[in-house]
Amino acid sequence: MSAAVSVRRRKVPVGHYVRVTSGVVACLLFLFPVFWMVLTSFKMPRDIFTTPPTLFFTPTLETYISYMSRADIPYRMLNTVIVAFGSAFISIIAGSMAGYALARIRLRGAGMLGALILLSRGVPPIALAVPMFLVARSLGLTDKHITLILAYCTFLIPYVMWLMRGFFMALPKELEESAMIDGCTRFGAFFRIIVPISLPGILSTMIFSVILAWEELLFALVLTNRNASTIPVSIAGIAGDSVNGANWGALTAVGTLTVVPVVIFALLVQKWLIQGLADGATKG
C-alpha cells in the first residue's frame, strides 16, 4: 500500500512537469513568428538581410517613421478604424436585436429566418464580392466607407446574432417579464433592462467583431482603391511586391502596427473572448 502511494506520488509530478513544459514550449513556438515580426520591424535593412540572422542589433524606429510620414499608411489606418468600428457598431445593434428576437420573442417565421441567417455563415465571400463590385460600380458607390461597412455587416451580423442569442437565452425570463408588467414596452424592456445587464457580453462581442472587420482583405481589395482602402490591402501589396522585392522592414512595421492594437484589445477581454468562442461553437 505504502509502496503504491509513493510510486503514485512520484509518477504524477513527472507527467505533470512534462505536460507543463511541453505546453509552454508549444506556446513559445506559436508566439515566435510574432516576436520575429516585431523584432524585424526595429531593424535597419542591413540587419535584416544577414546570415546568420541577427538577434542583437541597435534598434531603430526608422522604418516606422518613414512609413508613417511618407506613404498613405496613416490614412489607411484611419480608414481601417472607421470601417471596423462602423461595421461592428451597426452589426452589434442589428445582431443583438435579432438575437434577442430569436431567443425570447415568439415570432412565426422568425425561426426560419434565423436559421437562414445562420446558414449564411457558409456563404463564400467571393460569391458576394463579384455582384457587390458590379452593383457598387454602377451606383457609383465603390471606394466609399459605407459600402465596405455594409459589406462587413454580411458576416458580422450573423456572427453577433449567433453569439447574442445564446447569451440572451441564458438570462432569467423574469427580467423583462416584470419590466413589461410594470408598463415598459418591449423596446423599453430590451434597451433599459436587457442591454445594461448584457453589457459585458455585448462589448466583448463588439470587440471580436472589430477584430474580424479589422483583418478583412477580400472585400477591401474588391470594393476600394484609394479613398476607403484599408491596411490589410497595403500589407497584401507590400508582401506581394515582386517588382521591388521583399521590403521586410515595411512588412513587419506595418504588420506590427496592425497587430498591436488588436492584441491589446483581445487581451483586455480575453475571458469573454474565450467564453464567446466556446459558446459560438456549441450553442445554437
Binding site: 511541453s22 506556446c27 457558409g122 463579384v130 455582384p131
Partner: protein, 303 residues
C-alpha cells in the same frame, strides 16, 4: 358603440404588438436582404448571362453556357482539387493539434492563465500579416527557417518555390494561425468536464488510456464536432493567407478556389464565368455544411 371602439383598439394593440416583435428582426433582415440575399440572386443572374464590360451589367441570357465553360476548364478542377487537399490536410491537423495543446496547457499550475492568454495572440494576427511574415521567415535566401534547419544539418528547403512543398507550407501557415482558435475552444471545453467522473474512474483503477478513450473522448465529441463545423466554415473561405504567402504560386500550386475566382473576376474580368464558379462553390459549401451540421447534431444526440 363602445364595444366596437374597444375591439378596434384591441386589434390596433395586437398589430402594434406584432410590429414591435418584428421590429427586433427588422434591422438585421433589411441589411442582410440588401447585402446578402440580393447579391446572391444577382450572382445567379450573372452566371446565366453575358456581361457587358462597357457598362458592367448583365445583358444577354445565355443559359448554361458559363457553367459549361467553367466545367470544361481544367484550371477550375485543379483549383478545386487544391482546395480539397488543403482542407483535408489542414482541418484534421488543426483539430488534433488544437485539442492536444489544450490538454497540455490545461495542466494545473500558476502560469496556466498566462499561457492561455498568450495563445490568443496568433489568433488575432491578421491572416494577411501571417502570410507575409511567414513568407519572410521561409525565404529561401535570408529566411530564418532555412538557417535553423541548416544548423540541424539539413539541406535548405525551397518552402514556397517547390510546387509540392508550397501547399504543405500554406497548410503550416494556416495551422499556425488557426490552431490557437481550436485550442481556446478546447480549453473551455476541457475545463467544463465533470471532475467527479474522472475521480470515480481513477478509484476504480482505470488507467490513463481507458479514461481518455471511454470518458474524455465521448464527453468531448459534441464540441469536437461543433468546433470542426466552425473551423470548416472559416477554412472554405481561405484567401488572405494564400494571397500573401504564395499568391497562388508557384504556378497554380496553391491557388485555392477563392483566389482562383478572385483572379478570374478581377484580373481577367471574366465576371460571368466567375459568377458561375461562385454559384457552384456556394452550392457545394451549403450542401457540405448541412451534412456536417446534421452529423454534429447526431453526435450531440448520441452522447
Amino acid at each position: 358603440m363602445a364595444t366596437v371602439g374597444r375591439s378596434r383598439s384591441r386589434g390596433a394593440a395586437k398589430l402594434a404588438d406584432l410590429t414591435s416583435r418584428w421590429a427586433f428582426m427588422a434591422p438585421a433582415t433589411i441589411i442582410l436582404l440588401a447585402m446578402l440575399a440580393y447579391p446572391i440572386l444577382y450572382t445567379i443572374e450573372i452566371s446565366f448571362s453575358e456581361l457587358d464590360l462597357a457598362t458592367f451589367t448583365a445583358t444577354e441570357w445565355v443559359g448554361w453556357d458559363n457553367y459549361i465553360e467553367v466545367l470544361n476548364d481544367a484550371r477550375f478542377w485543379e483549383s478545386l482539387r487544391i482546395t480539397g487537399i488543403y482542407l483535408v490536410l489542414a482541418l484534421p491537423l488543426q483539430m488534433i493539434l488544437g485539442f492536444g495543446i489544450a490538454f497540455l496547457i490545461n495542466a494545473n499550475w500558476q502560469g496556466r492563465g498566462l499561457v492561455r492568454a498568450l495563445f490568443i495572440i496568433p489568433m488575432v494576427v491578421a491572416p494577411v500579416v501571417a502570410g507575409g511574415v511567414w513568407r519572410m521567415i521561409l525565404d529561401p535566401l535570408w529566411g530564418l527557417a532555412n538557417y535553423v534547419i541548416g544548423l540541424a544539418g539539413f539541406e535548405p528547403l525551397d518552402w514556397l518555390g517547390n510546387p509540392s512543398l508550397a501547399m504543405l507550407t500554406v497548410v503550416i501557415i494556416d495551422t499556425w494561425r488557426w490552431t490557437p482558435f481550436v485550442t481556446l475552444i478546447a480549453t473551455a471545453a476541457l475545463m467544463s468536464l465533470p471532475k467527479d467522473v474522472f475521480e470515480a474512474a481513477e478509484i476504480d483503477g482505470a488507467n490513463w488510456w481507458t479514461m481518455f478513450w471511454s470518458i474524455t473522448l465521448p464527453l468531448l465529441l459534441p464540441i469536437i464536432a461543433a468546433t470542426f463545423v466552425v473551423r470548416w466554415l472559416g477554412a472554405v473561405k481561405m484567401f488572405d493567407i494564400a494571397l500573401a504567402a504564395t499568391n497562388g504560386g508557384p504556378g497554380a500550386a496553391t491557388k485555392v478556389i477563392n483566389l482562383f475566382i478572385y483572379e478570374e473576376a478581377f484580373r481577367s474580368l471574366k465576371f460571368a464565368e466567375s459568377a458561375a464558379m461562385a454559384v457552384i462553390i456556394l452550392v457545394l459549401t451549403m450542401v457540405l455544411t448541412a451534412l456536417f451540421l446534421r452529423g454534429s447534431r447526431k453526435l450531440e444526440e448520441m452522447y
